[in-house]
Amino acid sequence: MRSVVVAAAALLLAGGASAQTIKIGILGPMSFVQGEHHWAGAEMARDEINKAGGINVGGKRRQVELIRGDTNEIQSIPDATNAIERVITREKADFLVGGFRSEAVLAMQEVAADYKKLFLGAGSAHPQLGVRVEQNYDRYKYWFRVTPLNSTDLGKTLVGVLGTVAGQIRKELNRPNPKIAIIAEKAIWVEPIVKALPPVFQKMQMEVVGVWQPSATATDVTAELAAIDRAGADIVFTLLSGPVGITVGRQMGERGMKGVAFGINVEAQKEEFWNAAAGKAQFVSTIDTFAEVEMTPKTLPFVRAFRAKFGKPPTYNAGTYDAIFLLKEAIEKAGSTDADKLVPVLEKTSYVAAFGVLEFDKRHDPVWAPGKNTGMAVQWQDGKKVPFWPPQVKGMQPFKLPAR
């Protein structure tokens, strides 16, 4: 009898304790770098918030509790939908943060909408996630994208950086019309960019020599690179999120290609990229989200604290850090954890994040605005990831071209 009473008391205590916390489900492929950064960013936010007393919900302080939702989405989309279901129904998450692979996030967005759970994205760039919000607001209004910019806006950043890169090629190599080759993995997130950019490049007085589309998991791109080399490309414009990004970087170095790689290369955003490419990826450049520069007053402290804690700089998936702080701000403004009350608060927010100033448009996508939120660009130089764009931001360094 005594053991029953003790068990009942323990249950009551556990129930009481969990009522004091705000449960945030962190969704990501936890065996992979993306999930690791989702979790690491969230842990930092949780620790900082809890240390400062938690989140003030209508006068009551509540601690943040993280729930680890391993979506395994790189391997399996059903695993991702199972994970979000589990986090919502069994673990009783109040909010959802994370996601990476567009195909999986599109599926998880449906589950979150079914349960009317606020879902802050920190990984997928696909525009359809925002289009759904605009077209069926009542169902999808609970979705907000924190990082990265949607792929259309990423295109704007790419064009901006490319202007700088092409200008340098014109000046240093005396090429009035630089030749550009596009190498884009076959995935749904690249399709809008691949369609939109060639005419833009032509307007920028660059000659597009071709579009190559290997698989996102291709382990060999020698044929593609031989063709690009033969076409005399000055710029190899990359749209790569899978491991093919490492293959491209490494094999370009092994071939001693004269063209410089710039674009989106998600693998090149990671600290492990240089070693994964066996130190061959000299001058590979990509747009990125975090570096030790002063995008906002929060950038440097966040990146340095992240590096100190985890031994590496954050990738854009660590945007879970900003997502959780954004959530905290919204909850404190609304004085409630009710998703329907938080949506209008988030829609009106102007939040200074570590990567830029975050405001949402009618699709709940981050507003792309120079000086506020454009992302940045980095280049690998002698084993170090060097930030070089936007040039006006304090801490940026020069972009370099391969020797000819």
């Binding site: 065996s31 770098v33 690791e36 589309q213 998991t217 060999d220 044929a223």
Partner: protein
């Protein structure tokens, strides 16, 4: 463009040949369809990475230890997994699929889903017909040729080779003649997996090492051995070159469809099988035996 296709196709064909030869050998002489073949190749790549990058043993020692350890593991796997079900082809197929996935998950647990790079054994490269080729890829071609020659020598010029061919030809008669057929089968598995491990050690430096690296070459390798004729070493070599060239032509002729190179290679395989169900050298191999 023609010289690009010629050189790229040859180099990539060499990579594929190295992977396909061992797989073909084990089926040709022991009638074992070892789906875990490329998983052993993956294990060798991981072990090579660990010994070279983490332990710092050096290229030669790391390579030898990796090949020897994976070969030893294959013998253990043969005893535990393949031998008990060897009489049932479907069971062998399923058991080796399971083995491949077990290895994959073990690597995922041990190393995470990180992509790892192995430094090149040989740095630098050469320009051939205006096409730049890294030395590492030439090394793969040389190793593929050497492995083929040694395999041929072992099969056709040694007593072990004679025993392997005799067992493959008629297991019961070989048994009645006093041969230890289980030991012969085990030796065949060991030789076959050693070839996969050698492939892992020399090919991995041009690829990225990750727990799923065995799946993509598995499909290509199956296409090659079916195209060349199951069990035919000559067929595997020629099949590998055909697939290498088909992929190169696809990329050069259809840049925006480069991701289709695997599909086009499989299409060629289906077309050849429709015209010649035994593959290009299936019958020739039967005669050779």
């Amino acid at each position: 463009m023609l010289q690009d296709i010629l050189v790229t196709g040859l180099v990539n064909g060499g990579v594929y040949a190295l992977l396909a030869i061992g797989f073909s050998l084990i089926f040709g002489v022991a009638r074992i369809v070892n789906i875990a073949h490329t998983a052993f190749y993956m294990l060798a790549a991981y072990l090579f990475y660990t010994l070279l990058v983490k332990v710092g043993l050096g290229f030669v020692l790391s390579g030898i230890v990796a090949v020897a350890a994976v070969t030893l593991l294959s013998v253990v796997c043969y005893w535990l997994v393949i031998e008990p079900v060897r009489e049932h082809d479907a069971a062998v197929l399923i058991a080796t699929i399971a083995l491949g996935y077990i290895f994959q998950e073990l690597m995922l647990i041990s190393f995470g889903g990180h992509y790892l790079g192995i430094p090149s054994t040989l740095e630098g490269g050469v320009r051939l017909l205006g096409v730049s080729i890294p030395y590492q890829r030439l090394l793969i071609l040389v190793v593929a040729a050497a492995v083929l020659a040694v395999t041929w020598f072992v099969l056709y010029r040694t007593r072990l080779g004679l025993a392997i061919r005799a067992t493959a030809n008629d297991l019961e008669v070989a048994n009645l003649m006093g041969m230890n057929v289980h030991r012969v089968a085990m030796a065949t598995v060991a030789i076959s997996v050693a070839l996969a491990a050698i492939a892992g050690v020399v090919v991995a430096p041009v690829f990225v090492v990750d727990p799923f690296m065995w799946l993509s070459p598995l499909v290509t390798m199956l296409a090659i051995v079916v195209l060349g004729g199951l069990g035919s070493l000559k067929g595997s070599l020629i099949g590998a070159l055909i697939i290498g060239y088909v992929e190169a032509v696809t990329v050069f002729a259809l840049p925006a469809g480069a991701y289709l190179k695997g599909a086009v290679a499989l299409l060629i395989m289906v077309a050849v099988l429709l015209a010649r169900p035994e593959g290009l050298f299936g019958v020739a191999f039967e005669e050779e035996r």
